[in-house]
């Protein structure tokens, strides 16, 4: 047991300055190259809507969009997003807190229970629709299978994503 005898700087040697957009906010930080985008969002920006379920890219709870493409933020070094736009669950609803149709569809289909995987499911669902992978139930199931839901809300998730896909309502946050 030991306590280091002097205060440690909040950034370590070798840190990298970075600027990127998170939703409608411009972020400028010095980053440890090992820091994941997930930890930066949660622990440094306090944006905790994005969840940590495994930290290994195996569960999808941390899914965000980078320039409209879905990624698992736990496997994305934060330094890699310099100059990009990151969209998180906090950026999905409209400016007046008006829900995106997919968010409303999750409520209408009760596509969640504990809610912990839900932000990742919605970010993947938006991308799945935009990719054109939500045109059949089977294809949507396949392309949403990187997002685990331990409560087992899969049927509602598929109903929500398929319903939104049919209405063509996913594009607006994915750009």
């Amino acid at each position: 047991m030991a306590v280091p005898n002097q205060a440690v700087p909040t950034t370590v040697a070798g840190s990298v300055p970075a600027a990127f957009q998170v939703n409608d906010r411009l972020v400028e930080l010095d980053l440890d190259p090992r820091e994941s985008l997930l930890d930066v969002l949660r622990e440094r920006l306090g944006m905790t809507g994005t969840k940590k379920g495994c930290d290994h890219g195996q569960c999808g709870a941390c899914t965000v969009h980078i320039d409209g493409r879905r990624v698992v933020s736990c496997l994305t070094p934060a330094v890699q997003v310099r100059g990009t736009t990151v969209t998180t669950i906090e950026g999905v609803a409209g400016p007046d807190r008006e829900l995106h149709p997919l968010q409303q569809a999750f409520i209408d289909n009760d596509a969640l229970q504990c809610g912990y995987c839900t932000p990742g499911q919605i970010m993947s669902g938006l991308a799945c629709i935009a990719e054109g992978h939500a045109d059949t139930d089977d294809r949507a199931r396949e392309y949403l299978s990187g997002n685990l839901c331990r409560c087992g809300a899969y049927e509602g998730i598929i109903a929500a994503v398929r319903g939104c896909s049919a209405q063509g309502t996913a594009e607006e946050v994915s750009g």
């Binding site: 440690v8 090992r34 379920g53 930290d55 504990c114 949403l144 331990r150």
Partner: protein, 731 residues
Amino acid sequence: MTAIPPTLRTERVDARDKVTGAVRYGTDRVPPGLLHAALAVATIAKGRVTSTDTAAAEAVPGVRLVLTRAGEGELASAGFLLGGGYGFQSLQPLMDDRIAYRGQPIAIVVADTPVAATEAAALVTATYETEQVSLDLDAEGVEVVEQAATLPPMFADLVAGDAEGTLADCDVRVEGTYDLPVQHQNPMELIGCVAEWEGDDLVVHEGSQNSGAIRHGLAAQLGIDAERIQVISPYVGGGFGQKNSLQPGTALAAIAARRTGRPVKLVSTRMQVFHNASFRPASRHRVVIGADRDGTMRAAVHEVDQQTSRHDLYPGSYTEITARLYGIPNFRGHQRLVRTDVQTPGYMRAPYEHPAAFAFESTVDDLAHQLGLDPVAMRLANDSTADPITGQPFSSRHVTECLRRGAERFGWERRTHEPGSMRAADGTRIGWGVALGAYKGAAVPAVARITASSDGGLRVEVGGHEMGQGIRTAVARTVALDLGVPAADISVVVGDTRSVPQHLTAGSWGTAGALPAVGAALGELRKALGLAADGPADVAAAVAATGQANVEVEATYTAPGQPPEIVLDRLRRGLPAAGGPVYPGFTAFSFVAHFVEVRIEPVIGRIRVPRVVSVADCGRVASPVTAASQLRGGVVWGIGAALREASEVDPRYGGFLNADLAEYTIPVNADIGDIDVDFIDVPDPLLNDIGVKGLGEVSMVGVAGAIGNAIFHATGKRFRHLPIRLDDLLG
């Protein structure tokens, strides 16, 4: 009690916050000055730490503390949840040099950032003296304990009539031995907490099913008054039994926070969730059923060996449901505990009932096949009205209706009963299977407090935790229907020790404890406001008429037959106080019937489950939207248990080999087809005034049995283990 039709849809009241990312789970908290902790863990399965080297860890920039052993008087065991204590196990790491299982923490590291903490934890090394280990039921060196001879009477053998004597007289006997694997709950939210001191007061944010146990357990561990500790757990990112008690890391985070003078966040890794928290133990079941040629079951024996740890006896209650699935007058259940070198196993959704139902319902299916009987018709003919163990009536039992309605929805009459007789045009083998499930109707003491405001606002505080099952919605809906107000106007406070006492929420008793207390508080509120005994009410006007801004009422509920002062005292001390399933004058169980179709692909033998029909008898359905989701979720769990999930024990070094979410394969979206659910929705007249029984666990019970029976129907092969995988069908 309602002016609004009970079929009115009440959407999940916290759904909006969940789809916008606004909900704050335990470790979503990021207070100013937060430090991050990580655990270093033992790399042996059993033995002693002889030395620890922390120099490299301490040299990592940003590291504030590396703690390998708590100071004198700084830390005590909180005891085992089922041994009068609060912890998932009695063993508390960092108190001595003993290593009881692989993955046991040997140090906690605290640093400025998660990266530094993780790096430093990996640099802590230790030397060990190792000892021989026994890791599974058949290992050399295990210790076998007769449960009935060792544990209190509630864990005694269940016996009715003379099972062995009657078996000898029966026309037909069927028998099977079933092996069920270790499994892990794997809620999506990792186990973790944020510990903060405000002077001498400790505040813990942690996703837990048991904030009361954390509070009182930490008080015992840290030697401080429970009044100085608050635990805040309004949302749990899934629990499934793994978060039912005090975790060993919480006290370590609290000590680290006290030593550093800063808030500390400790988030377990997924691998640590496999190795340093509870799990479903391995179990082996021998089932014998004797019957007449017409299919009347006259006797059954169910014997179970279940794994436990060296340091705790985690009891088994497997035969509690198998004694009640049918009206079998002669029954003998027997349970033994097998001590192995693991962390203490514990509760995982339908902890006993899922394995027990798989074993028993597979044997029942064998019996129907051997007698050439329709498995549904044979089950209908063996239904019971009285509890075979106590002779008491069931408080309510709608097994026959579950079977009839399920068979109709499923189209069971189109089944051809000969195994292998149903095939698709491409050669896909089709199997249709059925199984029953049951789960005890438990009840717990609860306190509910309602505060009504002159602006019409209603705040309901009640004992219970929201793990996604929908307790907040069930409470809001109950109040909304009673008073005729919108559910959205009601704020529900659960999982917070700053409000009313918090009992463990598990065992499907959450709703059956909270709602009767809320119902009683509503009665008090009506009295306090001078309102009629029922019907819609203008709460705002009634409060305004009192001349006060707020009117607050409180009520308590205790289960039938439980001495109120004793169970309320246990509730206030954070100890479990559940009653049931046997109450004075009646026995309470929830029931379910599952119908499953499996399709087995012709070349590689991949097993798919395209559709399931499940009909549950859980008393009155308190919240139709969330109840349907819960039943579907239980079916998904059954599919995972039947076809996917097993934690692979490392026979050499201990621990589990597939300790992550890529290799411990829980069901994904593409595994799940159509799940059609329905409810009997007849209020239970005896268990409580609201008429509710439990649902969360019974929803899973029997699913794996129905799948195994469907696979038998498709192939003629009976598999007596889980999971059933490709290689079984190829063999």
